[in-house]
């Protein structure tokens, strides 16, 4: 782990720049409008809301530290899991701090010494929620430094100039570091004025990642790399069966394995503690465990459970009279059904925690998307106060939603407490596949009415899938009020298009495993179904799918203008109107993921009976572009993850077990990388998210391209040519 403890704090504690936090859940009260209205209203409001952060302190002292070499250390409240947030924050802070980017370092805020965002890192909102706050905090620091220099030199603060981390006035000059070290009294500034966009030096320009060199040189940045001198290694005994519980265990052979120190049988878990990771794994292999498996689940059970018409229905969109239009239209109704499978995150660093229990200060090192919550849970598990637990977020070896969980942090802390030494507790890859939370399988039924003129007059979308996250965010009360998880399961389910009558209904049920967020949340399955259906409607009504979208997304709102710009740019960039190339199929799709709009035209070919993505032309409008290089990286990553989930990924369920390795859960490799053409459009004056939105159009555009080439409609993911329907 990187440690930056070279300089002690230079500022005194001070609270200012406080901001309101977004609180979901029990504060929402149902009124006489009735539940269906409330739920629809909330669904629409939350879908369009700028989700803020829940950072409790905007004190520069918490955020920044001026180091002796005159570099400025930022303690990031958001965690770096590959999305490049450290680089974006450094760029934004550099604008107001008046230092070159090379003079900024970024580290994670430890829960003991920095700003902790209890809302977590996710939802692609880190940049949008902190675009202004981080600049305000940086500007406040600069103004405090200027005021201190003015005081020291007894000159008017307006005469102080700042450049490259040096303050000057009337021939005198001093570095930030010198000034910070020797100043005792600080003046609290008023809310500082921020630079206009036209004066930005870095924002909008290509900047390499701030963590680039460390990552290329193989620095020990990740939790799994963390080391204490007298550390032990443990593995947890975890069920290889869905819903399995430990019935009987014979620990004799495991305990006798060379290097095994102890088999820890606690109320809630069993762990093998050893001198080395190898010995812990050997101990696990030697352990004789008998599992109580209530039911041997099969894929067919998962599909039967997740079916439209089952569970609880909640309507989240109702424009016009879509349902009655469908009922009375008889044979003019066009109807199709779609399915997406159970998915795994399969991030490259398995989850785990290094814990060092101490009576007064327990240390936790973990790659997590929710440091504040994990700290609180660990504290509770070991009977300490939250402030007695110092959680150091590590660079995460991939996130994608997988680290929105406590994972094994509690067990690691309890093991460390039991053995009196620091302990390293990481999942094996098999455990990581089989003891996770998952992207649930989904089922979608879409219906439309097409009138005599060939226009679509009504669309309904019925979607079935379990709750992904709402219960954990809003609690039982919130879930009861909301009725269904429109935040995540229903994310992207509503019909964007200006069709007179539109209705979206979520059917919600339970699956026998933990369900969670997977990159782009509901957008991935919902956009596959809805955009595939739109492509089918274009074909049914003999319209060009891209031009039909242009027509149905026209309107007076800013968002309509943004759709038009994105689609027209895509049309031009992809040479959409050019003659068809032989052997190539083309498809198009668009998505709106919390105000970031992404659209793609995808070219496919069939090679050796397999679908091959040849080219992706992608256009994204995420508002203000902070770092074009960073956006391109996220778009490329989303394209590859999208191709992977569209062509290969399905977590198998067979005889009560999930797939447990990379052979059984196939991912893309270098061989799958297509030609990629990315265009960034800036259609708004604030930044929106880029980590997830580019993923939305990938699956439906590939499916449409396959139809264009082969005439086969594939309506289930992963797309399989031999599974073609009608």
């Amino acid at each position: 782990m990187t440690k930056d403890k070279t300089t002690k704090k230079a500022f005194s504690r001070r609270k200012f720049l406080t901001r309101g936090a977004v609180v979901l859940g029990s504060t929402v009260v149902a009124t006489y409008f009735g539940m269906p209205f409330i739920r629809r209203y909330l669904a629409q409001t939350v879908e369009n809301m700028d989700i803020g952060s829940m950072i409790t302190s905007y004190d520069p002292d918490f955020w920044f530290e001026i180091l002796d070499d005159n570099t400025i250390l930022i303690r990031s409240p958001k965690v770096e899991m590959g999305q490049g947030i450290f680089t974006g924050f450094a760029m934004l802070a550099a604008e107001e701090l008046e230092v070159p980017l090379s003079q900024i370092k970024v580290t994670h805020a430890n829960t003991a010494n920095g700003p902790v965002d209890s809302l977590s890192t996710g939802g692609s909102n880190s940049t949008s929620s902190l675009y202004e706050p981080i600049r305000e905090v940086a500007a406040s620091l600069r103004e405090m430094l200027k005021a201190a220099a003015a005081q020291r030199w007894q000159v008017n603060v307006a005469s102080i100039k700042v450049k490259d981390g040096v303050l000057s006035a009337g021939g005198k000059s001093i570095t930030y570091a010198e000034l910070a070290k020797t100043t005792k009294e600080w003046t609290k500034p008023k809310k500082p004025t921020l630079k206009p966009r036209s004066e930005f030096k870095y924002v909008g320009k290509d900047v390499p990642r701030i963590d680039l060199v460390d990552k290329v040189m193989g620095k020990p940045l990740y939790a799994i790399d963390h080391h204490y001198p007298d550390m032990l290694y443990a593995v947890l005994v975890q069920s290889p069966y869905i819903g399995g519980t430990l019935k009987k265990v014979n620990t004799k052979a495991a305990a006798a394995t060379p290097g095994v120190v102890k088999i820890l049988e606690e109320k809630t878990f069993t762990a093998i503690v050893a001198k080395t990771r190898y010995a812990a794994e050997m101990g696990l292999a030697a352990l004789e465990a008998e599992w109580e498996v209530p039911k041997k689940w099969q894929k067919a059970d998962f599909e039967a459970t997740v079916t439209v018409g089952k569970g609880k229905a909640v309507n989240i969109q109702n424009v016009g009279n879509a349902n009655s239009e469908i009922k009375t239209a008889g044979n003019k109704v066009f109807k199709q059904a779609y399915r997406t499978p159970l998915g795994a995150h399969a991030q490259m660093e398995p989850n785990g925690t290094v814990a060092s229990y101490k009576d007064d200060k327990t240390e936790i090192v973990i790659g997590t998307q929710m440091p504040g919550m994990v700290r609180d849970r660990v504290a509770k598990a070991i009977g300490q106060k939250s402030k007695e637990v110092a959680l150091e977020p590590a660079f995460a070896g991939g996130g994608f939603g997988r680290r929105m969980d406590v994972n094994n942090a509690n067990e690691a802390a309890l093991i460390s407490k039991a053995v009196g030494k620091p302990v390293h507790v990481f999942n094996t890859r098999e455990q990581e596949f089989q003891n996770s939370h998952y992207r649930p399988n989904t089922h979608h039924v879409l219906q439309a009415v097409i009138n005599e003129k060939g226009d679509v007059t009504a669309i309904t979308h019925d979607q079935a899938t379990p709750d992904m996250v709402l219960e954990s965010v809003a609690g039982d009360v919130g879930l009861a009020i909301f009725g269904a998880d429109f935040l995540s399961a229903g994310h992207g389910a509503s019909i964007l298009y200006n069709v007179e009558n539109r209705s979206t209904t979520l059917w919600q049920m339970k699956l026998p495993l933990k369900i969670g967020i997977w990159r782009s949340v509901g957008m991935f399955p919902n956009t596959f179904a809805v955009e595939s259906f739109i492509n089918e409607l274009a074909h049914e009504t003999k319209k060009d799918p891209l031009k039909m979208r242009l027509a149905l997304l026209d309107g007076p709102e800013e968002i309509n203008q943004r759709y038009q710009k994105v689609l027209k740019t895509l049309m031009k960039k992809s040479a959409w109107d050019a003659p068809k190339q032989p052997g190539i199929g083309r498809g198009v799709a668009i998505g709106n993921d919390r105000k970031s709009i992404a659209a793609a035209v995808i070219d496919v070919a069939i090679v050796d009976d397999a679908i091959v993505v040849k080219k992706v032309t992608h256009v994204i409008d995420a508002g203000v572009c902070i770092n074009p290089n960073g956006i391109r990286m996220q778009v490329e990553g989303s394209i590859m993850m999208g191709i992977s989930a569209t062509l290969y990924e399905e977590l198998s369920v067979e005889d009560g077990q999930l797939a447990n390795n990379f052979l059984a859960y196939r991912l893309v490799t270098l061989a799958d990388a297509p030609e990629i053409d990315i265009t960034i459009v800036e259609g708004a004056d604030i930044p929106y998210g880029v980590g997830e939105p580019p993923l939305a159009p990938i699956a439906p555009a590939i499916a449409a391209a396959v139809f264009d080439l082969t005439g086969k409609r594939l309506r289930s993911l992963p797309l399989q040519l031999d599974a073609a329907e009608s």
Partner: protein, 157 residues
């Protein structure tokens, strides 16, 4: 059992179970954390390193098979006080890593690959390097390998 190794140009001796995978020896006995655990089954390539100049997936390589041999991990790929290894330089030039966790394995695989394929085509790269990256850096890895091959040629001139 005592096993002598040469790691990144230094002679070292470890006292471990001879069956212990080389991965855990370099990571936990020698504190070289650049080599990563990904799957433990030689499927993902995150643990790739060189033994006598050949790429191996060290999670499935018993340390006894490395006895007396030269091992290079990412930490030893570039020589001290020399220009960066062409692969590492190309990885920086193309700004490849996102989360970065799988990249050491890719770089070690690429370093050997460009010796065998000094002027690789996209197809050469795609059919020879089978490591897994979940962030989706594959398009940049392909560019970086071609750049590395070019830098390697320039360094040789």
């Amino acid at each position: 059992m005592k096993i002598d190794l040469n790691v990144n140009g230094k002679a070292v001796s470890v006292d471990v179970d001879p069956q212990m995978p080389l991965l855990w020896v370099v990571r936990d006995e020698l504190q070289l954390k650049g080599t990563k655990y990904g799957c433990g089954r030689a499927m993902c390539g995150a643990c790739s390193l060189h033994v006598n100049g050949q790429v191996y997936r060290s999670c499935s390589f018993p340390v006894q098979n490395a006895a007396g041999k030269n091992i290079t991990t990412l930490e030893g790929l570039s020589q001290p006080d020399a220009p960066l290894h062409p692969v590492q330089q190309a990885w920086i030039d193309e700004c490849v890593p996102q989360c970065g966790y799988c990249q050491p394995g890719f770089m070690m695989a690429a370093a050997q690959f460009i010796q065998e394929f000094p002027e690789p085509s996209d197809d050469d790269i795609k059919s020879h390097i089978t490591n897994i990256c979940r962030c989706g850096t594959q398009p940049r890895i392909i560019k970086a390998i071609k750049k590395a091959a070019l830098l390697q040629q320039q360094q040789k001139k």
